[in-house]
């Protein structure tokens, strides 16, 4: 084992450890979106170094090189094409913009809410037997669709109408916790929990969150 290759390998090893240190250090800085990009780029560099030096790709025949490159290329191809779906899921709001003016003002540009984050649905986690147990609390949108819609859709009895930004803005000033408290214990025309005692407080909080988002209020005060 001639001395030169051995020294080379030690140098490569030190370089890899250095990059690892850099990666860990970078995670202590708050660079926002650049953190994941930087760490992945450093990892890719480490990978490239390992492939070229330790896996003797430098001296290999062309065909194994193509095979190695194909593995990574196909992975990027798969991720890239799938992202065309996930990064363009603006649901109805954007689509509204496509055809004509949307029903309610589109929320603040840029941060279009990904409905996935308010997901949640209600099956039993284990496969249901014949007597399917009653599903438990639904997500904000679903609670709204099954309960709150009765009054809030058309503002029955003075209730703030869904999508009426002014009414909801005035109420969101009091902070979400007060809104939840009013909704749970009943307030003026509204029966406690909208007449559905079986709703949990988290459901009511989700439903209020949905109505705020539908009214275009992005980050109401706590």
């Amino acid at each position: 084992m001639d001395e030169r290759t051995r020294r080379n390998h030690l140098l490569v090893w030190l370089l890899l450890l250095g990059l690892l240190g850099l990666n860990i250090a970078s995670s202590f800085l708050d660079l926002g979106i650049f953190n994941p990009i930087l760490t992945t780029a450093v990892a890719a560099l480490q990978a490239f170094i390992i492939v070229t030096f330790f896996m003797s790709m430098r001296s290999a025949a062309p065909v194994p090189r193509i095979a190695a490159a194909a593995g990574f290329f196909w992975l990027l191809l798969m991720i890239g094409l799938t992202l065309t779906d996930y990064q363009t899921r603006f649901e109805d709001i954007a689509l509204g913009r496509l055809a004509s003016k949307p029903g309610w003002e589109a929320p603040a540009a840029g941060r279009v809410p990904n409905p996935l984050s308010e997901s949640g649905y209600s099956p039993v986690s284990r496969p249901p037997t014949l007597a399917a147990a009653a599903p438990d609390a639904a997500s904000g949108e679903r609670v709204y669709a099954s309960v709150c819609i009765l009054c809030h859709a058309r503002g029955v009895g003075g209730a703030p109408r869904t999508g009426d930004k002014a009414a909801w803005l005035k109420r969101s000033e009091q902070g979400v916790d007060t809104l939840v408290d009013h909704a749970v214990n009943g307030y003026k025309g509204m029966p406690p929990k909208g007449g559905h005692p079986e709703l949990s407080e988290q459901d009511v909080r989700n439903a209020i969150g949905y109505m705020l988002y539908a009214a275009g209020i992005q980050s109401p005060r706590r």
Binding site: G103, Y121, S122, A131, A134, E141, R142, A145, L150, H196
Partner: protein, 316 residues
């Protein structure tokens, strides 16, 4: 769903929405292109095969310029298909963008039935009444697995993905009753998760919508009894240990813990909303609470049905 009446007057696949004509136009253009291509190619194949069959004395010196014809053929193919792509994509984007003044109806897909709720809270199961000529936007949500809202007559389809709200919209353009299918496999009774879309005159629709207090009839109760899943346990031949309901109305019912109570309307109401409070002697408290799943009119219909089971004629 067994009593689905065959709709005699409507043709096999009516064009019942403004979209239907345009999708049909695109589809039959494509079919036309396909037929022409098949005829051209099979014509070539059969023609060459017969003309140049073994033993036929024909001129066989080959001089066809190979790559040139291929390129011309491929580019022609590509041009035709790109034109069709643009037409289809245009229709697809429009199909996915509901007008904002559309009448919004909420739909919930649940394993093997459809539940619809109109703006004024009127609910219906496995049937969807929509007004003629008014764009309707159905907001779809599912409570368990992936279903798919498919109305062939409107040429629309949209999967219901758990965890998200999906929308499908159409503008009915023809009066009648049309099939509603679940198109994505969703379990045991996927093939029975069918319903009807009933297109009505707008005035008729408003009247139907306002008539919230429709008389609770045992028949509607029976439909609810099966769609809510009660029949799964209380029906005959069910493997689950659940108290039989035939003939219990008005009779004393022994409860766990020694109490006995008369099975009147409040008893049935409470057993549906809070079953664990009054468990029949000799049974386990496995019945789930249906609170939040049934509203007042459903309850009255169910009670009417259970009454009809015990020979007591429910209110007409």
């Amino acid at each position: 769903m067994a009593g689905m009446d065959a709709v005699s007057d409507t043709p096999l696949l009516p064009q019942a929405s403004t979209l239907a004509e345009r999708v049909d136009a695109l589809f039959f253009t494509l079919v036309g292109v396909d037929v022409v291509m098949v005829l051209v190619l099979s014509g070539l194949i059969v023609g060459f095969a017969v003309h140049y069959r073994r033993g036929a004395r024909v001129n066989r010196t080959t001089d066809a310029p190979e790559t040139k014809t291929e390129i011309v053929w491929s580019l022609g193919l590509l041009a035709v298909f790109l034109a069709i792509f643009v037409w289809a994509a245009h229709l697809y984007v429009e199909e996915a963008s509901p007008p904002n003044n559309a009448l919004e109806i909420h739909a919930i897909g649940k394993q093997w039935m459809w539940k619809f709720q109109h703006q004024n809270g009127r609910r219906e199961i496995n049937e969807l009444h929509v007004p003629l000529g008014v764009p309707v936007k159905v907001v779809l949500a599912t409570q368990d697995v992936i279903h798919s809202f498919f109305v062939p007559a409107f040429r629309v389809k949209q999967d219901l993905v758990p965890g998200r709200f999906r929308t499908v919209w159409f503008t009915p353009s023809r009066i009648g009753r049309y099939h509603l299918f679940c198109a994505e496999y969703c379990g045991l009774d996927h093939s029975r998760m069918r319903g009807r879309v009933i297109v009505m005159e707008p005035a008729e629709y408003e009247a139907w919508l306002a008539d919230v207090s429709a008389e609770p009839s045992p028949a509607q109760g029976e439909k609810l009894f099966s769609s809510l899943g009660c029949i799964a346990c209380h029906g005959a031949g069910s493997k689950v240990a659940a108290p039989p309901l035939a003939g219990i109305f008005g009779k004393p019912v022994p409860l766990k813990g020694g109490r006995t109570v008369i099975a009147d309307e409040t008893y049935i109401r409470d057993s549906i909303l809070t079953p664990e409070k009054q468990v029949v002697a000799g049974y386990e408290p496995i019945m789930p609470s249906f609170a939040g799943r049934v509203n007042e009119s459903d309850l009255t219909r169910l009670i009417a049905y259970i009454k009809s089971l015990s020979g007591e004629e429910g209110r007409p």
